[in-house]
């Protein structure tokens, strides 16, 4: 019987030759249509799109390529030589204190999972409010973004980190002083070396007023800070921020994972209280696809060099390290902390918890040419879930109370999962997790995380003489 090859899809499900039926003669096997691994259907479609439009593809979210990640690590758990802790009975601490180096008022969070910086503009006011509600319910922090501080997030965030970005949109003294911490953004994982982007569809009158820009233009944030260049200047900038805020607030320095050892060392040298390290799986509201997919390091490969820098300078656990980029589960949280992080930050996962890409909007995703789970046109402002939009009708779909509750639930699950693993490893606090608790499933992950390949004592790159 002849088998049909479906040339309209990227996957040929049916193996074997095609047999062509000819009433006049025997069946002749034909060669299957074969898609190129180099010019695969996605690549071909992208070439065709580029040729038709003359502009690169812009989208939201983070990298979609397969990367070495926390999935490539496993915890060993307890054994004869390691005592586990009793689940539900023996305490496993989760609190974290950030800003102990210089700040007069360090931040204490109940859980080591924070909400990463995402702007009002990229997100709706209701989404920002929901983030604040959810984070505050479980005792953690949220972060502003490019565009300044809104009343929604200040009002509903018990602990709010105020970002100082190159654009300085909406930056003002009052907001700086009513923040709980300050984050100097040097880069982000989705686009180390790139500036922000907010296309005209989302520059509503309110967004335009906050950013002091004309309505409806395609806004380009600068990639460099306007008044400092390099680590020596950054040290003075941090001094100014401390002087502006009476040395009360922890100062974070956020970098995209690029040169994590040196960036961490230089941030410490510049006087940071906290270093935020964002891997290339970290999301963005709008960036060129080529940038998202081809610049930066996966977070798995960036943590150990950053921790090494902290240790080399005697600052590990004194300058806190927050890592982000692809954190999804409590296992990811635990693995990041076992590698030396003090806390993690989530962005994309938080939006999903709020309702992004929810199946209930499938019909509308289809109209937008996509499907729930794949929607990433966050820059277009047409988000059916009302999260990445400035359209009032769409934004009204998101109930900030309910969405905040979903986020709180999710953050609780992340914490419970991480505690489950930590107890199994015999740890009475998440911070007691350590690299010795981990093995790697692949040589690549073993090399990046600097833990042994499972079942061996081999850490690629270590014991070089062997």
């Amino acid at each position: 019987m002849a088998r049909r090859a479906d040339c309209t899809t990227s996957t040929l499900i049916t193996p074997g030759p095609i047999e062509m039926t000819d009433s006049a003669g025997p069946r002749i096997p034909r060669t299957l249509p074969r898609f190129s691994a180099t010019f695969d259907p996605h690549t071909i479609a992208e070439i065709q799109r580029a040729a038709a439009t003359g502009i690169y593809d812009i989208r939201g979210s983070g990298t979609k390529r397969k990367l070495p990640h926390f999935d490539d690590l496993l915890f060993l758990g307890a054994s004869v030589s390691r005592y586990p802790l009793e689940g539900y009975r023996e305490r496993c601490g989760t609190e974290v204190v950030l800003g102990t180096r210089f700040a007069k008022k360090p931040i204490t969070l109940k859980i080591p999972v924070t909400i990463a910086g995402m702007s009002f503009g990229a997100l709706s006011g209701n989404a920002k409010e929901a983030l604040g509600r959810g984070a505050s319910a479980v005792g953690t922090s949220t972060t502003t973004g490019d565009g300044g501080m809104t009343e929604e997030e200040r009002g509903h965030s018990q602990t709010l980190v105020y970002q100082v970005l190159p654009s300085r949109y909406g930056m003002n003294l009052r907001d700086l002083r009513r923040a709980d911490a300050i984050e100097v953004v040097v880069g982000q994982g989705a686009k180390p070396g790139g500036g922000g982007m907010l296309l005209g569809q989302k520059i509503s009158p309110r967004v335009a007023a906050m950013r002091n820009l004309p309505e409806g233009i395609d806004q380009r944030s600068s990639c460099r800070h306007p008044d400092w260049t390099g680590p020596d200047d950054l040290e003075i900038k941090i001094l100014e921020l401390r002087e502006l805020t009476n040395w009360e607030k922890p100062i974070y320095v956020k970098v995209g994972a690029s040169r994590p050892y040196y960036d961490t060392a230089l941030a410490i040298k510049a006087g940071a209280d906290v270093v935020v390290l964002d891997g290339m799986q970290g999301g963005t509201a709008a960036t060129q696809e080529v940038f998202i997919e081809h610049v930066g390091l996966p977070i798995l490969s960036a943590i150990r060099p950053a921790v090494q820098a902290l240790q080399d300078l005697g600052q590990h656990r004194k300058v806190q390290l927050i890592v982000s980029g692809g954190i999804r589960t409590g296992a990811d949280v635990a693995k990041a902390m076992a590698l030396g992080a003090d806390a993690v930050a989530i962005g994309t996962a938080a939006l999903i918890a709020l309702g992004d890409n929810a199946p209930e909007w499938e019909e509308e995703y289809q109209k937008l040419g996509t499907t729930a789970g794949a929607y990433d046109d966050w820059h277009e402002g047409r988000d059916p879930a009302g999260i990445t939009t400035q359209d009032a009708a769409l934004a009204a779909r998101l109930d900030p109370v309910k969405a905040g509750r979903r986020l709180a639930n999710y953050l609780s699950v992340l914490t419970l999962e991480a505690q489950t693993i930590a107890r199994a490893c015999g740890k009475s606090h998440l911070h007691n997790l350590e690299p010795e608790d981990l093995v790697a499933l692949t040589i690549e992950a073993a090399a990046m995380a600097q833990v042994p390949l499972a079942g061996t004592d081999w850490i690629p790159g270590k014991n070089k003489g062997e």
Binding site: T53, G54, I55, S167, R168, M171, N172, L173, L176, R177, L199, G200, R211, N212, L213, P214, I217, D218, R220, S222, P226, D227, W228, D233, I236, K237, L239, E240, E243, L244, T245, N246, W247
Partner: protein
């Protein structure tokens, strides 16, 4: 504050940085709201960074000498005179008030500032007025390269010459130049001087004590060709 000395009601409070720390000074200046002190004199700044930042009282302040980075940063209401030269980022992100530099200013003077008036009697280096968001700047000398880069709003008056790439990626700020412009940046173009422009310019010249007439200036602004992405503009980026 033992280091701040006020001789009488008619004389300024004198604060000598040779005898006290930057921290003490900024704490004092940031706590002036409602105290009714009208004038301060700061001695021996000796190039200190982050000097007189974040003041919210309508106090007059004279800094007697040269200052380092970010002097008068985020100023919100004070009138601050610097008798010497200013380092990078003077009056950065100023919200309101006046900053008057009697000497020259280094890079990024008035960067991202939202309001107030910055007067520089001498020259300003590169990136003066970068990302300005409503401030008025008057430079009586010349300005360096990339000045008014991504300037969003406000007015920028240059009595001398402007360096390369003036107003690169400009938004809605107005730029007035009396001297020569080495080159214009992407999307910056000369515009006809309107009556509104002349009023703004005349007012700023008067406020800053500059001896010049609006007719001597050319007005530059955004061509608005880069406000939306288009492949035909790729060469301009």
């Amino acid at each position: 504050m033992s280091t701040a000395v006020k001789l009488s009601d008619s004389t300024p409070v004198v604060f000598d940085l040779a005898n006290a720390s930057l921290r003490e000074l900024n704490v004092a200046l940031q706590g002036l709201d409602g105290l009714g002190q009208s004038a301060w004199s700061i001695l021996n700044p000796r190039g200190a960074h982050a000097l007189a930042v974040g003041i919210t009282a309508a106090v007059s302040l004279s800094i007697e000498g040269h200052v380092g980075y970010y002097c008068a940063g985020m100023n919100d209401g004070a009138s601050i005179t610097i008798t010497g030269n200013a380092g990078p980022g003077v009056a950065e992100n100023m919200m309101s008030g006046l900053v008057h530099v009697l000497g020259d200013a280094s890079q990024a003077a008035g960067a991202t500032a939202h309001g107030g008036l910055l007067i520089i009697e001498g020259n300003a280096s590169g990136r003066c007025g970068i990302s300005m968001k409503g401030i008025d700047i008057v430079v009586k000398g010349s300005v360096g390269h990339m000045s008014a880069f991504m300037a969003q709003s406000g007015n920028f008056v240059i009595l001398g010459d402007a360096g390369e790439a003036l107003g690169d990626c400009l938004y809605e700020a107005r730029i007035f130049v009396r001297g020569e412009v080495a080159s214009l940046g992407a999307d910056c173009e000369e515009k006809a001087m309107t009556e509104e422009d002349r009023i703004i310019l005349r007012n700023l010249l008067k406020k800053s004590g500059a001896k010049a007439e609006p007719a001597e200036f050319k007005r530059y602004g955004s061509a608005r060709r880069l406000y939306h992405f288009h492949v035909d503009n790729a060469g301009a980026y």
